[in-house]
């Protein structure tokens, strides 16, 4: 009908190598690119954590070749205290931004959201391509800080001012390192904004005939809700990063108070507020936590339902719970600041919604457990990792109740208790979600099955290993072990060193087990058994198209949706499950509207 449009979705099958694999407009290729980026990032982040763990367990242990990374940071292959902090900062930043945000949200969301809503592609393929490449540039900028000046910043992934804002006087990496860090995150924000625009418009405007919002699978809902959070959270982080850069390069002092003395120098800054950075950062930072975990909730629900062969107790309540998580995530950010010298009234005002936000999380978990009870769960690697996700989410979530209360948090703040809490509930849980999604969707993404035996070995090693690493963190925290120390020399900390050694060994072994996964991933990609179109007998739209999906997702005929997403074990149906695209009439369909 119309000859031209700036953002017409319809783009032909690409022919050149560059359009096909590099600057691809196809959401499926972009999804895989995001996945590859996350995979590289997670390996970098994991190796950094190994170096840190070895240093914590055996303070003078020389790690062969470490001086190649930084001759000043690791003279004689042993970390200096500053370089320990620099590696820790990079571990946190890489993991939070380039793994936990990109893999469950941008990677799987890009690949499967358009397919699950029944669209040919996202509405703005060029934005989508830019979104990935901008994120890629952000990653390069961040990693480049290893190799310039005196290395990356040491301020922690939260970059608390004034440490982050005063410049090189505060230590190695606090000059150029912080500028690169803030630039990288600022660039990252632009990429995520473009991604979020695409995700939301895909969900709202690109659904196929018959696909009402309530007929969307829970994974699609999770990506939609996540993108709504991402849209505004990153929009606040970006100006915060720009102000931080201005403090470095333009001589402003937004985040530095007057008369600050560092290393016997009075700084020329005046008038700013250190708390302001925390307010701006955590206004982004708390939604970010849910940006990392909500896609996991969706993926795990999707995987569990398919393997339980029956819908969850309630489809809508899960959606409403994820929605309330999104809304509440903007109201709780101050619980990161209970001991920052924040107004005590604010602590009260933040504590209440923080306890309230546990309610939707608990509801989701209870619906999962209630639905699992008595179901004949098909055990495979995907469903095992989904169960593992629930386990991590509960174990990590329970400690959240303690931390939500200012009076208890004053003691536990900045100890290993907090480290254990957020690693379990947000980091490892989200990564288990990624694993679950990978084992579940790999056949659709590549056309080949992953090796099930290796998958189960990977699961059990990861599951046991993760608990061995992070459960002792809680005990360490209660014993008063402060985080971000590079050595434990105080009297009360020395008896805890054996626990650290245990954790280090567990971390090394668990990390090694991940190479089973990477081997499985690469080997199966080329040598795995060919996958059928619907290996798990799922009902949603991704299973009604070819494996792997053709360029425009559904071939010549766009799908028409007749049913709610999860029609399993329906009475009177000819099979155990009824596809969303099946025109079969159902008499007693649960949830059918």
């Amino acid at each position: 009908m119309h000859d031209t449009s700036a953002h017409a979705v319809h783009h032909g099958v690409p022919t050149s190598f560059i359009r096909k694999h590099v600057f691809s407009l196809d959401h499926k290729v972009i999804g895989k690119q995001y996945y590859a980026l996350a995979l590289v990032a997670v390996v970098v982040g994991m190796v950094l954590s190994w170096i840190m763990r070895i240093h914590l367990g055996w303070n003078n242990f020389a790690i062969p070749g470490l001086h190649l990374l930084s001759s000043t940071g690791a003279p004689g292959n042993v970390l200096t205290p500053e370089y320990y902090l620099q590696l820790m900062t990079m571990h946190g930043t890489i993991m939070v931004f380039f793994v936990l945000t990109t893999a469950p949200f941008a990677a799987f969301g890009n690949f499967f959201l358009p397919i699950q809503v029944g669209a040919e592609d996202m509405p703005f393929p060029h934005f989508n391509m830019m979104s990935f490449w901008i994120t890629f540039v952000a990653f390069l900028v961040l990693v480049s800080s290893f190799f310039v000046g005196d290395g990356p910043t040491l301020g922690g992934w939260t970059q608390y001012a004034p440490l982050s804002a005063v410049g090189a006087v505060a230590g190695p990496g606090q000059g150029l390192g912080v500028v690169l860090w803030a630039s990288s995150i600022g660039i990252f924000c632009i990429g995520q904004l473009l991604g979020a625009l695409n995700f939301i418009t895909t969900t709202l405007d690109m659904r196929t005939k018959g696909m009402s919002l309530m007929r969307l699978p829970l994974s699609a809902w999770a990506w939609f809700i996540t993108s709504i959070m991402g849209l505004t959270a990153f929009a606040v982080l970006m100006p915060a990063c720009i102000l931080l850069i201005l403090d470095h390069v333009a001589g402003t002092s937004f985040f530095v108070a007057s008369n600050l003395v560092i290393n016997d120098q009075v700084l020329p800054h005046s008038g700013g507020s250190t708390l302001l950075w925390q307010h701006l950062f955590w206004f982004f930072g708390h939604p970010e936590v849910y940006i990392a975990i909500v896609p996991g909730l969706g993926i795990v629900s999707h995987v569990l339902i398919t393997n339980m062969r029956r819908p969850l107790l309630s489809h809508r309540v899960i959606i409403y719970s994820m929605g309330s998580l999104a809304v509440l995530s903007y109201m709780v950010y101050g619980h990161h600041m209970f001991v920052s010298g924040m107004n005590p009234y604010s602590s009260l005002a933040f504590s209440f919604p923080t306890l309230v936000i546990t309610i939707p999380s608990t509801i989701v978990v209870l619906i999962w457990l209630g639905s699992l009870y008595g179901s004949k769960l098909r055990i495979n690697t995907a469903s095992l990792f989904a169960l593992g996700f629930i386990s991590m989410f509960i174990s990590g979530g329970v400690s959240g109740f303690f931390l939500a209360q200012p009076s208890i948090d004053i003691m536990l703040h900045a100890t290993y208790f907090v480290v254990g809490h957020f690693h379990l509930v947000m980091a490892v849980a989200a990564i288990f979600g990624i694993f679950s999604g990978t084992y579940f969707w790999f056949p659709k993404m590549t056309g080949r099955m992953m090796n099930e035996t290796l998958g189960r070995i990977h699961f059990w090693l990861s599951f046991v290993g993760t608990y061995c690493i992070f459960m002792p963190f809680h005990y360490l925290g209660i014993a008063g072990n402060v985080r971000r120390y590079q050595a434990f020399t105080d009297d009360y900390l020395i008896p805890l060193i054996p626990v650290h050694k245990f954790i280090t060994i567990a971390a090394l072994l668990t990390g090694l087990a991940q190479f089973i996964f990477i081997y499985n991933l690469i080997h199966s990609r080329f040598k795995g058994a060919l996958a059928p179109d619907n290996p798990w007998e799922g009902t949603s739209l991704e299973w009604s198209t070819a494996t792997p999906p053709p360029h425009n997702n559904f071939g010549d005929k766009m799908p028409v949706v007749y049913h709610d997403p999860y029609q399993y074990s329906v009475e009177g149906a000819s099979t155990d499950y009824v596809m969303q695209t099946s025109p079969e009439q159902l008499k007693n369909a649960p949830d059918e509207k």
């Binding site: 119309h2 505004t232 950010y333 009234y345």
Partner: protein, 107 residues
């Protein structure tokens, strides 16, 4: 240009007079802001009054210049989304007062 812009454009063509009225209202509100600036009141009072006027102005612009009044669903989506995010940012104020006054609330 084929059938593209036809469907629901017809009823919009009536509104030019309304645009002018809204424009004049916004000019008047902007003028009120300038008048408030010359009142002899404290900064916080001035802030409150000016912000209220600005919110009314923004509402007029959203509803009529940006045509939100013609699409209730979109209006609620945009308003609830934006207002909850902007309100979420307001937690920090008590800290800024406390830095100045040394007490939880402004003296």
């Amino acid at each position: 240009m084929t059938t593209a812009m036809t469907t629901d454009e017809a009823h919009k063509n009536t509104g030019m007079g309304k645009d002018l009225v809204v424009y004049l209202c916004m000019l008047a509100l902007a003028a009120i802001q300038f008048v408030i600036a010359y009142q002899d009141i404290s900064a916080s009072q001035m802030f409150g009054r000016m912000l209220s006027v600005a919110v009314v102005e923004a509402g007029l612009a959203l509803l009529f210049f940006m045509h939100l009044s013609e699409n209730r669903g979109l209006m609620w989506f945009v308003l609830i989304f934006t207002v909850s995010v902007v309100l979420g940012m307001q937690y920090g104020w008590t800290d800024s007062f406390r830095i100045l006054g040394g007490v939880p609330w402004a003296k």
